[in-house]
Structures are given as structure tokens and as C-alpha cells.
């Protein structure tokens, strides 16, 4: 049994299996299922077009996957401590969580931020917070994911100013701001500005970082959150690709060449569900993305055709009930990620259905990935499932399903329009509801939830404590920065920012000046709100 619907006969034997993406699975696969398969055309060697088997020839023999747990707490001081703990335990990349006021461009002393400062991540008001969080972190050796979207341009400017201040060359540092606003509008909810200007801001970061911070991955397109919000694995890839193409089309209109920016676009995709459906999904996605870039966008550089990504998380598969079972689930999800040829891996922690992970839970997740890397032979050979009758068949069928879902979006008038109208939001909500009903009715099995459950479940996890004192410390620090900064410089840089926004210039150089003058997150966001207005959520019910 798995993340699929099953029809059984009267003897309890499985008669029919339909995967979430709609693919019907046969009891056995053989050579006849791959009669049309052309190795060169459909698979290619790893590192060769269409990259079905992986984007590098040697994959994990050459370089193991990066392990990057999502973390960030309360004040920048606490975040800095947690970063150092994870690095000391062998983590090879950082992934910063920000609190909700920061993600929504509010200062910590904003009345709307009350009770939320530092709650689900680090609070950032000014450059000072970045300087504290990244003190003594080797930014030239460790890549930094910045999980922020609506104000990613501001955060990227802060990252640049911090790297410069600590003496790192801008062509050596690597930031990966999430910077995918359309998926926020579909699923994660941290949007501020309307669709058009939001896409413009993303265009600014792509154009700017290609010139100034070439190792930066300016956009990490997230199928992840849409899958977590309920869509099927095929829809996850289809929506992520349609979103990525929306950003690409916008940047092409600015006159940039596809090969000047496509190599730095990366993806963040989800790993929970039926093992083989996920592996098929990733292999199909890699092939389809390569074809789209080559055929639709006429890319010449093979790197433009690479689907690079973080295949990780898996939060949607974890359960509140019997939380320690999530450690076992996480290990299988990590296996899916490694079998699928990820570049970066991250795992949700076993206590995450309740709370921000405790240090112990975060370390268990890291160790889970390390066990896979060090003990299980996953680095020995590339794409070990390649050539399997079932996996290759499924890869083909997943590609068909993804393509069908993409065509539906294109018929709606493209992703930007579909999101403005709420079409995608409605579809994702519908899928979530259908899946939850299937769970509640026992059609889909979940251990500890609707099978092998032990009645009333006891919480076995330690809850992350929210510290109001940390919020007060953050506000005190903000007031201190406001008191000691050069106010005239703040006012003049913000005025320049507004003028440039009205003229439609690339705003990154202006943001950098405001950031260096210690303008606050709220001050810079307010400028954008005045010029652009705010996103109005479409009614979907």
C-alpha cells in the first residue's frame, strides 16, 4: 500500500492501483513496456541531454549531495549559534528561516507583528541583524538558502552588504533566496505586492545577480509548497515549471539571453509519497525541463537545461500521531531524494508537525541523511534505478501527466493569470480536500493515523518555547539602530529607491544603498507598497 488508491478483490488481494498523479500501475512490467525506449533520445548517459539519469556524469562519486537543514530562531544571535552548531555537526549548507513579520516586510515594532517576532524564524529589521547572524560563518565555503519571497530583493541586498562587510569576494559567495512569489500566492501565503510588480522584483534580482553575484541562485522555484498544500506530484512539477517559465519570459523581455540566467534557476521539490512515483516524477521532470529549455527557449548551454534542485522536506507525509515514526518516514524520504539525483537534501524533523524542531530533532534529521550517504552505498553508482522496466515506464507516464497539467495552465492563460484569478488555488485546495477525505475514510493508509493507531495519542515531543523577551530584545536593538544611524542618508536613499521604482529601473543597486544606510525592512517595504499597491487575494469559495 502507499500514497495511492487501491481496489481489492473479496480475498483482499490488490486488483487495481492508481497513483496520486493518476497513473495506473500494472502488477508487473517487462521489456514490452519499454519497446519504444531509445536510450540516447530518452535517457542519455548521466550528464548528457536530456539528463533523465542525472545532470552530472559521476553524480555522488564526484560530489555527495549537500545537506541543508532549515533553521533560524528568534534573534539573530540565537540563529548564529544554531548555524554554528549545525556546521560543527557536518552540515554543508545553511537554510535560513525568517519570522513572519520579516517575510511580510514588517518591522519588529509594527503593531501587526505583535506576538510573531522571532516565532517561526529569525527577525530581520536592518542590516545589523544580518551582520550578527552571519558573524564567523565562512560565506565563501558554505551556500546560504534564504527562505523568503515577497521581500527577497531586500534580503539579497542585505546578504550582499554583509558579505562585503566581512571581506568576501562577491564572485565567491552563494546565496539562494527562495524568491518565488507565485507559489506564495498559491500556497504559502506570504505575499505583499500584486502579481505584476512582484514578478518585476524577481526579474531585478535575476538580472542583477547574474552581473554582480554570479554564484547566486536568484530564484528557487518551489513546487514543494504547492505539493504540501495538496496538489498531486504531477501538478507539483507542472505548476513549478509554469511558474519558472513565467519568470523566464519576463527576463527575456528585458533583453537578456536565456543562457545568461537559466543556469542559475533552481527548484525546491517535495519527496513524500509513493517511492516510485516520486522517483519517476524527478526523472521525468529532469527530462522535460531539459527539453523545454532546449526546444522552447533555444538554450545552447547545457547548464541552462539542468534541473538542479533541493529535493527534500517531506513535511506533508509526517504525522502528529506517534511522532517518533516520523524518523523512519524521514529515512525513506531521504532515500527517495538520493535515488532521484538531488543536488541538495533537507529533511523535516520528526517533531515538526507540532513545533519548530528542537536541536535534538534537527540533528537526527541531519544524521539520517549522513547515514544514507556514509553507510548505504548511495554514492556508488549513478541512477541505480535507471533501466528498470517499472521506473522507466513510470517516468514516461509521469512526463505525460505533467505535460497534461501544464497544458491546462497554458489554456487558462498562463500561470500569472491563473493565480490572479485563483484557478490554481482552487485546484490545490480541491486536491487537498479529496486526499484528506480519502485518509479519513481509510482509503489511503497512514500508520498511527488510520491503521495501527493506539487510540488517544500522547505527545512525545518537546515544544519549542516562544520567548517574548527575545522579541523585546529585538525591538530594543531596532530602536538602537534607528537612533544611531545617519537619518539624512536613510531618507535620501529611500527617496532614490522610490524614484527608481516609479521609473521601472532595476532596484537592486538602490536597495543596496538603503540597506547600507540601515533603512529598516518596514521602511523599504512601505516604499514598494506606495508605488505598487498590494495583492488582493481572489475569493476561491
Amino acid at each position: 500500500m502507499g500514497g495511492a488508491t487501491y481496489v481489492k478483490n473479496e480475498r483482499g488481494e490488490i486488483e487495481e492501483v492508481t497513483l496520486q498523479s493518476g497513473v495506473k500501475v500494472k502488477p508487473v512490467y517487462g521489456p514490452e513496456d519499454l519497446a519504444d525506449l531509445d536510450y540516447r533520445r530518452d535517457l542519455g548517459n548521466p550528464g548528457e541531454y536530456p539528463f533523465t539519469r542525472g545532470i552530472h556524469p559521476g553524480m555522488y562519486r564526484m560530489r555527495p549531495w549537500t545537506m541543508r537543514q532549515y533553521s533560524g530562531f528568534g534573534t539573530p544571535y540565537e540563529t548564529n549559534e544554531r548555524f554554528k552548531l549545525l556546521i560543527a555537526h557536518g552540515q554543508t549548507g545553511l537554510n535560513v528561516a525568517f519570522d513572519l513579520p520579516t517575510q511580510l516586510g514588517l518591522d519588529s515594532n509594527d503593531p501587526l507583528a505583535e506576538g510573531e517576532v522571532g516565532r517561526v524564524g529569525m527577525a530581520v529589521d536592518t542590516l545589523r541583524d544580518f551582520e550578527i547572524a552571519f558573524a564567523d560563518i565562512p560565506l565563501d565555503k558554505i551556500g546560504t538558502g534564504l527562505t523568503i519571497n515577497a521581500v527577497a530583493s531586500i534580503i539579497l541586498a542585505m546578504f550582499q552588504a554583509t558579505a562585503e562587510k566581512y571581506g568576501f569576494a562577491l564572485d565567491k559567495v552563494s546565496a539562494t533566496p527562495q524568491n518565488d512569489i507565485l507559489k506564495e500566492m498559491v500556497s504559502r501565503g506570504n505575499w505583499i505586492f500584486p502579481v505584476g510588480p512582484s514578478i518585476r522584483l524577481i526579474g531585478d534580482t535575476i538580472e542583477y545577480s547574474a552581473k554582480v553575484m554570479p554564484r547566486t541562485n536568484p530564484v528557487s522555484v518551489c513546487g514543494y509548497h504547492m505539493r504540501e498544500s495538496g496538489c498531486t506530484p504531477a501538478q507539483e512539477i507542472a505548476y513549478a515549471f509554469e511558474i519558472a517559465m513565467t519568470y523566464i519570459d519576463h527576463v527575456l523581455q528585458r533583453g537578456m539571453d536565456i543562457d545568461d540566467f537559466a543556469p542559475r534557476i533552481s527548484f525546491n521539490l517535495d519527496i513524500f509519497g509513493n517511492i516510485f512515483e516520486q522517483v519517476g516524477k524527478f526523472r521525468a521532470a529532469r527530462r522535460l525541463w531539459a527539453k523545454l529549455l532546449k526546444e522552447r527557449y533555444k538554450a545552447k548551454n547545457p547548464r541552462s537545461m539542468w534541473l538542479r534542485g533541493l529535493f527534500g522536506g517531506g513535511g506533508g507525509g509526517l504525522t502528529k500521531q506517534q511522532p517518533l515514526n516520523n524518523i523512519a518516514r524521514g529515512a525513506y524520504y531521504a532515500l527517495i531524494s538520493a535515488l532521484s539525483g538531488t543536488q541538495t537534501m533537507a529533511l523535516c524533523s520528526y517533531d515538526e508537525a507540532y513545533t519548530i524542531p528542537t536541536p535534538q530533532a534537527a540533528i537526527i534529521s541531519l544524521r539520517t541523511m549522513q547515514i544514507l550517504q556514509e553507510e548505504m552505498g548511495l554514492r556508488d553508482t549513478v541512477d541505480p534505478l535507471g533501466g528498470s522496466y517499472y521506473v522507466e515506464s513510470l517516468t514516461n507516464q509521469m512526463e505525460e501527466r505533467i505535460t497534461e497539467e501544464m497544458q491546462k495552465v497554458e489554456k487558462m492563460g498562463g500561470m500569472a493569470h491563473a493565480v490572479e484569478m485563483g484557478y490554481i488555488q482552487r485546484e490545490v485546495a480541491k486536491q487537498a480536500y479529496l486526499y484528506e477525505k480519502a485518509l479519513q475514510e481509510g482509503e489511503v493508509h497512514k500508520v498511527g493515523v488510520n491503521i495501527y493507531s493506539e487510540g488517544e495519542d500522547e505527545e512525545e515531543v518537546q515544544l519549542h518555547e516562544y520567548k517574548p523577551a527575545a522579541a523585546e530584545a529585538q525591538i530594543t536593538s531596532l530602536n538602537e539602530v534607528r537612533r544611531t544611524r545617519d537619518k539624512r542618508k536613510v531618507v535620501s536613499t529611500l527617496r532614490d529607491l522610490e524614484r527608481a521604482a516609479r521609473k521601472g529601473e532595476n532596484l537592486m543597486p538602490y536597495l543596496l544603498e538603503s540597506v547600507r544606510a540601515y533603512a529598516t525592512m518596514g521602511e523599504m517595504t512601505r516604499v514598494f507598497k506606495e508605488v505598487y499597491g498590494e495583492f488582493k487575494e481572489p475569493r476561491i469559495f
Binding site: 514588517l106 516565532r119 517561526v120 504559502r188 501565503g189 506570504n190 505575499w191 480541491k430 479519513q440 469559495f541
Partner: protein
Amino acid sequence: MKGKRIRVLVAKPGLDGHDKGAKMVAQALRDAGMEVVYTGLHQTIDQIVNAAIQEDADVIGLSILSGAHIPLCEKLMRRLGEENLSHIMVVVGGVIPKRDVQKLRDMGIGGVFPGGTNFEEFIRFIRENVK
């Protein structure tokens, strides 16, 4: 209440953007024959109270996953009291630790439904408790 459909305002207070649960509950209640209005994200408590007045809601269902359920519920209950709307039943869902359930009930919250609650259970509770 016979003959009149139960009106439910599903609301997302505060800054948290996770509304998968809120949208699922909205669909389940609608399928159960209730009238459901979903506020959308980033609502202040005052906006929720105003929406409840405008929609003539019998029930307000709050969905909170950020951990800020105690301060948000305190504020909502206080505002409902001030507006003489204490007849509206308030239920809360989301990531709610067990230890907070009693605290919420003591504030006057009608029912607490952590993530994973059966739709049936939730629907029955509303049908039985809306006067």
C-alpha cells in the same frame, strides 16, 4: 435554528499563511450543507469581527498554525464581548498543543480541533452546539 442554514466564517488571523487546513474545513462544511465564507489570509481580529457581523455568522472558525493561538483567541473573545456578539460560537483549529486546550476552553472557545481532526466530528460538533 431549524430551516436556517448554519453560517460559518472560516478565518485566518495574524500573519501565518498556511491555509490548507482552513480551506479543507471550508469545503467539508460546505459539503455538509452549511454556508461558509472564508476570509482569506492576514486578517486582523477587528477585520474578522467585522466580517462576522456582515456575514451574520453563527460560528467563527479560526485556523492558527503559527503558535500564536493564545494571544489571538484572547483578543477575539474580548472584541466579541465588547460588540455584544458572545452568542457567536468560536472554534479553533490548527497546530494546538494539548496543554493549551483547557486554556482556550477557559477563555470561552467552544471547541478546539487540532490538525487531523475528523471532518465528521467537527461537523457534528457544530450542528449540535449552534443554538
